[in-house]
């Protein structure tokens, strides 16, 4: 059962990713990205990361995608203006580098040993990945990084407002 769910949503995620990269209409790309992010959230549940899966759907598939779709509609692009040019030099160079990266990664699998032996301890599904467990860690060991992310968000807000104001003036 777990195997079926994994392969189903892994294939969905990869298919969505391929459509994001290859489709010429930005709205279709954005909706395919939602499919990929949602499939990844299902895989997170499979990995017992419940809280993180909820965050993924709420923040990524919700807030960030709304922002993308809003920008796409705001710009009102002509679909034919930025087509996928599979004959250009850029395309060939990128394909070459991606194939090189893939070859390097999958060749290195042969030299890796003992990743499967990493899971000796049994996971308690009740506490692992719960809001309580992640929250305790977030507010004790990682309190300073957590507070710094709020500073980052304030900086982002100030930056966006500054960029938007300069555009008018």
């Amino acid at each position: 059962m777990e195997t079926i769910i994994f392969y189903l949503f892994a294939i969905l995620a990869v298919a969505g990713a391929v459509v994001v990269v290859s489709h010429r209409n930005p709205v279709t790309s954005a909706l395919s990205l939602v499919l990929t992010l949602f499939s990844t959230a299902v895989l997170f549940v499979l990995l017992l990361a419940d809280f993180v899966a909820v965050i993924q759907v709420l923040v990524y598939a919700g807030a960030i995608m709304i922002l993308f779709l809003f920008t796409v509609m705001f710009l009102n692009l002509r679909p034919e203006s930025l087509e996928f040019d599979s004959k250009s030099l850029t395309f060939k160079i990128s394909a070459f580098f991606v194939v090189l990266l893939a070859a390097g990664y999958f060749a290195s699998i042969g030299f890796r040993k003992g990743l499967s032996s990493l899971s000796p301890t049994t996971i308690d599904p009740k506490s692992f990945g719960s809001v309580e467990g992640v929250g305790k860690l977030l507010f004790s060991d990682y309190l300073l990084p957590f507070e710094l992310t709020s500073v980052l968000i304030v900086i982002a807000i100030i930056g966006v407002v500054a960029i938007a104001k300069r555009r008018e003036g």
Binding site: A10, A13, A17, V21, F68, D85, Y105, F146, L152
Partner: protein
């Protein structure tokens, strides 16, 4: 347990490579930003897979931070795209050669 951590890592690598290809090959700036999200998402999947394999929830904490950074990055990036569009009337990356002397 039929699915091991390697399955998740290979899936994460495939998603990352697709995203990397999109960043390099596409000319539409919005699609480039979406491909960047794809790469970040692949990294998050690796974080969660390792958190599960090591029975350590630190990976979840890092994933939450990564999502925060991604949200801030998308907000600033899209504001820049809107600004570029109103300036150049296009979001083709080939047109953006402002630093070229």
């Amino acid at each position: 347990m039929g699915i091991s951590i390697e399955h998740y890592l290979v899936l994460s690598a495939i998603l990352f490579l697709i995203g990397a290809f999109g960043v390099m090959a596409r000319r539409n700036l919005i699609i480039v930003l979406m491909s960047l999200e794809l790469m970040l998402n692949a990294a998050n999947l690796a974080f969660i897979a390792f958190a599960n394999a090591l029975n350590d929830m630190t990976g979840h904490v890092f994933m939450i931070m990564s999502i925060t950074v991604a949200a801030a990055e998308v907000a600033v990036g899209l504001a820049l795209i809107v600004s570029i569009y109103s300036h150049k009337n296009s979001i083709d990356v080939d047109i953006l050669k402002l630093l070229k002397g």
